[in-house]
């Protein structure tokens, strides 16, 4: 095909899904000239699976993205239909926000955000080639031969690369939600030495609301108090929809068991690796034979549509089987199926080929983000997009990379897991993946990350000043609570303690000592605390958490210090592990493959033992002595 030159760009972003959007916005806001390419302009920021944002650990990611100046939290706040704080009965570390979103509204919001952004061009076109000069990227070419030069390229291709839609025996090329797949880019990537592999995921059917019998389902309402994702927002309105619960039954399971031979996975027709946390209904039934029912959530897709999403019912069985089992479910007996469930297979990269900046180790200026990196989920994708966008921009501007670590964020944990350990299946964030989860709460994402966002240049002066005030207010309130005492004779206090179900005081105690009791909240003590300053609820809550969990927080902080010591011992890029004396063979191979940036990262690679780490430290020391320089 004949190529023709169109435009000089700083950064080309391939894909305008959740990863591509954050990457493009961040890079453009940092002053780079960015082009973002999508196969279809009507699928920008699409939600081809759940019409929802957030959830356990994912809510944390959204708040972190917001604290760093990303867009996802604001878009979710602007287009939410129902909001729920999950795990409210548990500790603050695992409170997670989840909203039902207006799928079209969200997509529209994001498209408009891209369109309005200075330095940013939103372009419909399939990228089929990445141009390189030596081992550095130099541009991209569309399917029509349009050539754009670029100093950095961010791959955010989601499930489009050689996408295949599988429904029963039907296995056809296709992207998500009826889009075209991107069939040509994979070949170019393989030529560049990108280690591609094949993952699989799936989505359930959508049904028409008008055909459902809600009288047979349990309604699930949203929260009364609605907390926004974005730290910039306060009041974002009310719930506009509700969800419903129903469940599969013995009959549903029978239908699936009878037809299991028609499942492309059970028949061996498809081989892509699927995620364990997103099993198809046939998987659930075959693996958990003792369960006689599986819960299903019926979620609205938007205000201006009757489409409903059936969470819990992913499948790749043939359409006629899907119809049978859907109609066996309470409330869905007459359901009109609008879109059938499908499995999708796609090319993605082994993320161990990436640095923690998400740049490829072997190709200068090429970055990967989102599902292309082997993750799953809109929030995981957006987090990586933001990091790739920030680092690509900084590289072009000659600035040091910004690396998030396991101790400061879920974003850092996500990326460290991906690039250090790789992933055998599409990776989903979970609170149990973070060893510092008491520190990495959703509620303090702004306290943790706003200074970094400000430093990077994605958080403006006004917001930063607001943050500083909040921080100072919290600190002052903690000190005040520590040195404000109350008497055991105080009758109001006696009543409060009794109401909270905790013993009366035997002697005087500070307010902080009272808040340290798990049963007593900061807000419970308002009646006996006349000098309390006017603080926002969030500020009061922060003061309370700092006091109540002080012992645990201190312990985690001391672990973090230990962690940082190893993290700060950088490994030079030119280390030759193959020739390093004393390393075991497995360690040599793993270290050569991952090329860790620090001793800390090296220690997390499976197959690298403490003895191997000692050898690395000795090597570092020898180099230092040889070079006669200090670290």
């Amino acid at each position: 095909m004949e190529k023709y030159f169109v435009e000089n760009l700083d950064i080309a972003v391939i894909g305008a899904g959740h990863a591509g959007i954050e990457a493009a916005l961040a890079a453009a806001r940092l002053g780079c000239k960015v082009g973002i390419f999508t196969i279809c302009l009507d699928a920008v920021g699409n939600m081809p699976c759940n019409p929802s944002i957030g959830g356990t650990a994912k809510g944390h990611l959204v708040c972190e993205i917001d604290a760093l100046g990303g867009e996802m939290g604001k878009a979710a706040d602007a287009t939410f239909l129902q909001s729920r704080m999950l795990n409210l009965g548990k500790g603050p570390a695992v409170h997670s926000l989840r909203v039902q979103s207006d799928r079209r509204g969200y997509s529209q919001y994001m498209k408009h955000a891209l369109e309005r952004q200075e330095n940013l061009m939103l372009i419909q076109g399939e990228i089929v080639e990445i141009l390189t000069e030596g081992n550095r990227v130099s541009g991209v070419v569309t399917h029509l031969g349009a050539e754009y030069s670029a100093k950095a390229v961010i791959l955010a291709t989601g499930t489009y690369l050689k996408g295949e839609i599988i429904i029963g025996k039907s296995q056809l090329p296709g992207g998500p939600d009826g889009m075209f797949p991107a069939n040509q880019l994979s070949e170019c990537l393989l030529k560049l030495g990108v280690p591609l592999r094949r993952f699989k995921t799936g989505t359930p059917a959508r049904v028409n609301k008008r055909s459902l019998d809600f009288s047979q389902m349990v309604v699930q309402e949203g929260d009364e108090e609605i907390i926004p994702f974005s730290f910039e927002n306060e009041d974002i309105g009310e719930n506009q929809v509700c969800c419903w619960l129903t469940a599969t039954n013995e009959r549903t399971h029978e239908i699936i068991r009878e037809n299991i031979h028609l499942s492309p996975i059970y028949s061996g027709q498809i081989k892509g690796v699927g995620p364990r946390y997103c099993p198809s209904i046939e998987d659930k039934i075959m693996r958990f034979k003792e369960k006689t029912a599986h819960q299903l959530f019926i979620e609205p897709c938007g205000l201006e549509t009757e489409e409903m999403y059936i969470q819990g019912l992913s499948s790749s069985l043939p359409e006629f089987v899907q119809r049978q089992f859907i109609h066996s479910i309470k409330g869905l007996e007459q359901a009109e199926i609008m879109r059938v469930a499908y499995a999708i297979q796609y090319d993605c990269v082994d993320p161990q080929a990436l640095y923690p900046t998400l740049e490829f180790k072997t190709i200068d200026g090429l970055y990967g983000a989102g599902q292309f990196n082997g993750s799953s989920g809109y929030e995981e994708a957006a987090a990586q997009g933001l990091v790739a966008g920030i680092n690509a921009a900084r590289k072009l501007q000659g600035k040091d990379p910004v690396v998030f670590d396991r101790a400061n964020s879920y974003i850092g944990t996500l990326i460290d897991d991906l690039v250090t350990k790789g992933t055998p299946e599409p990776y989903r964030m979970m609170t149990s993946r973070s060893e510092y989860r008491l520190l990495l709460r959703q509620d303090n994402a702004d306290l943790r990350l706003t200074p970094i966002g400000y430093e990077i240049g994605l958080i403006g002066e006004e917001r930063y000043q607001k943050f500083l005030t909040k921080k100072a207010n919290i600190e002052a309130e903690i000190s005040r609570l520590r040195c404000t005492y109350c008497s055991p004779q105080n009758q109001t206090l006696k009543e409060i303690l009794e109401r909270c179900g905790t013993p009366a005081l035997s002697g005087g105690a500070s307010l902080a000592e009272l808040i340290a009791r798990p049963q007593v909240s900061y807000f419970d003590l308002a009646p006996i605390d006349p000098d309390r300053p006017t603080l926002t609820k969030a500020e009061g809550r922060q003061a309370e958490i700092s006091i109540k969990y002080e012992g645990y927080i201190e312990k985690q902080l001391s672990k973090v210090r230990e962690f940082q010591r190893l993290e700060n011992r950088r490994l030079p890029e030119d280390l030759n592990y193959e020739e390093m004396i004393g390393l075991r063979l497995e360690a040599r191979q793993k270290l050569s493959a991952v090329r860790p940036v620090s001793i800390g990262q090296a220690s997390r690679i499976s197959g690298v033992s403490p003895a191997d780490i000692s050898v690395l430290m000795i090597e570092l020391e020898q180099r230092k002595n040889r070079n006669g320089t200090n670290e």
Partner: protein
């Protein structure tokens, strides 16, 4: 890197002196609070100066030691270092080591002091390869050792504890990460934690036994002057080691020797007769005798059966009488005049013998055998290494914290942090890693996902 490590730096044999080396940034923050001058005031250490200190914690005296502090970088390792020159018995050295572990030190791996010395530029480059070799050899030996030690019953018991911790946490974590799909754990988390704590305590009790078999039992012979302690010592050893005379206060120093009683290797210390004295040298011997007796696992309290109990005897019975120690009524060949009832009020275990005639000595062997028989711990598994015991100890601490946390009314997701730590500690002994395992378990055991 700069956590504080400690280890016995001298050869593991009974010798007159043994050195414990402690190294790491700000080592004094851990060690100094344990050191007192002989007059009881806190000891002050200066770089390069040897100071006589009493090692003491929670009112218990562990040993008197000559302590030398080396400030970084002027030390062997290049870090802040303290060397405790203790009395040679392994039991004393291990007790001090255990105390240091309790206070936050970590057991040094073989070669680790040298490794640190190297990393801090204290060893020249030629030694680098030697250090690597050492680390390699050690990790190989450790692996082999770990395997051979963990076969059979012990391994099964430890693995069972590990699995229980992981299962408990899996349930908690699944409930946290998939709140819409997974119900709160049905089993009583607190009850299960208490059961695990008990099992870990049982395993740790076994570890004392294991130590005993490996290192031997430390026995101190105490008594008033002239009750026949040295005669008894010589009898037990089978040769004359202590000087025997009728002059009270003949034994002024403590004499320690190894022998075999019953089936057990023992280290017996003959101590100075305890009485009130004006002689400062004798007094010093008596002080050492007391310290020795306190550090011993078993005290043989010797009384002269041929005379009424003296004030000194009564004081000794009060001091050492308990269910653990043995009262020996000596001189059974002479007419008996001592008030045995008084002794019986204080001791459960009493034997009568004549050290001089060699009569009734087999009763001591018999007693040792019944008290410290190795038979019943043969098949239940014994932890033999201090570092394994240390990890289990840490694991039990974490379990206890989790129990406290739940008892105080905090939510189980908080306790899960402690449970993770407990599982890691136990997993270190059995060679399993936690995080991945728990995540795998969530998917294996709970049907979650959209």
């Amino acid at each position: 890197m700069s956590d504080i490590i400690c280890a016995i730096a001298t050869a593991p044999a009974t010798a007159a002196l043994g050195i414990i080396r402690v190294s790491g940034a700000d080592v004094l923050s851990v060690v100094a609070p344990l050191l007192y001058k002989i007059n009881g005031t806190p000891a002050v250490l200066e770089h390069g100066k040897a100071t006589l200190c009493r090692i003491q914690a929670e009112g218990e005296v562990y040993d008197e030691a000559v302590v030398t502090y080396y400030q970084a970088p002027r030390s062997y390792t290049g870090e802040d270092t303290v060397e405790l020159c203790c009395h040679g018995g392994l039991y004393v050295l291990q007790s001090v080591c255990e105390l240091l572990l309790q206070k936050g030190c970590r057991m040094a791996q073989a070669g680790e002091f040298s490794k640190r010395a190297f990393l801090n530029g204290k060893l020249d480059l030629i030694k680098a390869q030697a250090v690597i070799d050492l680390i390699e050899a050690t990790s190989r030996a450790e692996r082999k050792n770990a395997l051979s030690q963990l076969e059979g019953h012990l391994s099964r018991r430890l693995s069972a504890v590990y699995e229980r911790l992981v299962d408990l946490n899996t349930a908690l974590l699944a409930y946290v990460d998939f709140p819409d799909e997974v119900d709160a754990p049905e089993e009583d988390t607190l009850a299960e934690l208490r059961a695990i704590e008990k099992e870990l305590s049982a395993l740790l009790a076994g570890s004392d036994r294991g130590q005993l078999i490996k290192e031997g039992l430390n026995i101190a012979i105490v008594g008033a002057p002239n009750v026949g302690k040295s005669t008894l010592m010589n009898r037990l050893l089978g040769y004359d080691r202590s000087i025997v005379s009728d002059i009270a206060g003949t034994t002024r120093d403590t004499v320690t020797e190894g022998c075999r009683l019953g089936d057990l290797k023992c280290h017996i210390a003959d101590t100075a007769g305890i009485r009130t004295t004006a002689d400062p040298i004798e007094q010093q011997g008596i002080d050492i005798a007391r310290a020795r007796a306190q550090a011993a696992q078993v005290v043989f309290a010797v009384f002269d059966g041929s005379r009424p109990l003296t004030e000194e005897d009564i004081a000794l019975a009060e001091e050492f009488g308990n269910e653990r120690n043995l009262a020996i009524i000596n001189k059974s060949d002479l007419p008996q005049k001592a008030d045995l009832e008084y002794i019986q009020d204080h001791f459960i275990h009493i034997v009568k013998l004549s050290a001089k005639q060699g009569e009734g000595l087999s009763a001591i062997d018999g007693w040792i055998e019944t008290q410290y028989s190795a038979e019943d711990c043969g098949d239940q598994g014994i932890l033999t290494s201090l570092s394994q015991a240390q990890r289990l100890l840490a694991g039990r601490e974490s379990v206890r914290r989790a129990i406290d946390c739940l008892e105080m009314g905090f939510t189980p997701d908080l306790a899960s942090l402690d449970i993770t730590e407990a599982a890691s500690a136990v997993g270190e002994v059995t060679g399993q890693t936690v995080t991945e395992k728990m995540i795998d378990n969530i998917f294996a055991k709970f049907c979650v996902g959209k």
